[in-house]
């Protein structure tokens, strides 16, 4: 794209979960301090900040940085639903590539209300009619996936079992216990075919990173240095009734590409790689079917191939292309503004060889993916 590379000089995270005694600002401060400390960046060391949040309210980013006395530079809050963090990363990296800044702070903060997410997205008549049921849209997508491919409820349960097994070893995850398929399939039925444990929980948390400008092809630098190969955000194209834009109608037309596919295609091109080159992936697993659909949309398998990829164990730790080694949103929960950046933090640990029990040996190329309301989809490619 340009001769400017963007490096991730430091990452920080506040665990994802429920923290009654911590404000959204407290959590942001923890994550930001972690990232700045790791990068060796102090006051005046970054020229812009982008803060991702969907529910944080006015000036969420300012509130965090004011606590640290690190203000004066542009601080911009960014909302793009589940992809808010990816959007902030795109803006930060783009500004560095454009030559506007040398060092940018990107962070995400969230403290979600409990229960089914209430969104200003739906109009009152939709809510009164019962059409504001977000998990029901997930269920309709799951049902279509089952109609159109070999995916069964057993595959949905298998995704949960895999991610919860991975999550056991992530100290920043909300749920750190293994579950078995029978327990998943007998947990409360929310919207057939989705049971409660197949749905991620909205929660709280924060994640942060420092981006720095680095000359490409300079040849120097630490081998463990992580570079941002691409940070792409896309919205939906009109026509698909079940994409994350949740329209009330759509066309009988299967050729409309999904927003995640748009983002992935652009990210692969920008990074000069293909899905076959990836060593480790974090993808949107808001619900178990969403992960399987993401396999197809990201090109990890051919259309209709998600069930087979799952059956082969390819996406489990030790498999050909491990997915959600952090435990995914099913283990971590989903604090909207922080979730995409939380994925990046996990992937940076993988590329640095710091992922401990869940380390993918020799991981060099990683992808993070989110998709949600808007529609918004983000795909981030990281290399070392």
């Amino acid at each position: 794209m340009t001769d400017v590379d963007v490096a991730i000089a430091g990452v920080g995270i506040h665990p994802f979960g429920r923290f009654a005694d911590r404000t959204i600002t407290d959590m942001g401060v923890t994550a930001v301090r972690g990232a700045l400390g790791q990068a060796g960046v102090g006051p005046g060391g970054f020229q812009a900040a982008f803060c991702a949040t969907a529910y944080g309210g006015v000036a969420s980013g300012h509130r965090v940085l004011a606590r640290l006395g690190m203000t004066g530079m542009p601080i911009v809050d960014v909302e793009a639903g589940c992809a808010s963090g990816g959007a902030a990363l795109m803006l930060g990296a783009g500004a560095i590539r454009a030559g506007a800044y040398d060092t940018v702070l990107v962070f995400g903060v969230e403290k979600m209300p409990k229960g089914m997410i209430r969104s200003s997205f739906f109009e009152p008549w939709q809510e009164v009619s019962g059409l504001g049921a977000t998990p029901a849209y997930f269920a309709l997508r799951a049902q279509r996936l089952m109609q159109d491919s070999g995916v069964t409820k057993d595959h949905l349960a298998a995704v949960v079992v895999k991610n919860r097994r991975h999550g056991v070893h992530n100290p920043d995850a909300m749920f750190r216990s293994e579950v078995d398929a029978a327990a998943v399939l007998t947990s409360r039925l929310v919207c057939d075919p989705l049971h409660l444990w197949m749905l991620c929980t909205p929660n709280e948390g924060a994640a942060a990173m420092v981006l720095t400008r680095a000359k490409a092809r300079a040849g120097a630098g630490s081998p463990a240095r992580v570079r941002l190969g691409a940070a792409v955000l896309r919205s939906h194209l009109p026509g698909s009734v079940l994409d994350e834009s949740t329209p009330m109608s759509g066309l009988v037309d299967e050729s409309v590409p999904a927003p995640s596919t748009l983002a992935a295609t652009a990210a692969y091109e920008e990074a000069g790689i293909g899905p076959e080159d990836l060593d480790v992936v974090e993808c949107q697993d808001t619900d178990a079917a969403r992960e399987l659909l993401s396999y197809e949309e990201l090109g990890l398998c051919p259309p209709g191939g998600a069930a087979q990829l799952c059956d082969e164990g390819a996406t489990a730790l030790g498999g050909r292309i491990p997915v959600n080694t952090s435990g995914g949103l099913l283990s971590k929960g989903e604090p909207l503004g922080a979730s995409a950046l939380g994925q990046v933090v996990s992937l940076v640990h993988q590329l640095r060889g710091e992922a401990g029990h869940n380390q993918v040996e020799g991981a060099r190329l990683a992808l993070g993916h989110t998709v949600g309301r808007g529609a918004n989809a983000s795909v981030v490619v990281l290399t070392r």
Binding site: M116, I117, R118, S119, F122, E123, P124, W125, E127, V128, S129, G130, L131, G132, A133, T134, P135, A136, A139, L140, R141, Q143, R144, Q147, R188, L189, V190, C191, D192, P193, L194, P238, G239, V241, L242, T246, P247, M248, S249, G250, L251, V252, D253
Partner: protein
Amino acid sequence: MRAEHAHQGFLNTAPVTLGETAPDGGATGVAVAVRVGLFTDTDPPRLLGSRCQACGRHHFPRHDTCPYCAADGALPVELSDTGVLWSWTAVTIAPPGYGGDLPYGFGVVELPEALRVVTRLTETDPSRLSAGQSMAMVVVPVGVDDEGHRVMTYAFSARDPR
């Protein structure tokens, strides 16, 4: 349920009345559409959509501007009252702002206008539904507003329940 939910932002018109006024002449028993302009007060009822004069594609709910090609002047049309089931589930937990019965069916019905519509379903047991089955539009109650009106919305019902 707050009454303004049923009446807010409805093209500045009064709520449409569906059905009979109660015998005592009071408000109780008066049925109002959850939003004016969504469906007709006819038997059978029909969804109110639009057809773009530029690209020929249909959309729902009705808008003057085509959401596919941005052309203005989309023609108001009454959509077919029958279609086939494309996806389905049942909602077992009340979503925000909803005060009607649980569980309730929820799905997507494909209409002959090459349009897929998100809708409530009258069938609350997903195991009784299957892809491609024939569906017909109905109007169903989803609660009572603060003025005692029965609030009505659109749904689809299996034509040959199994």
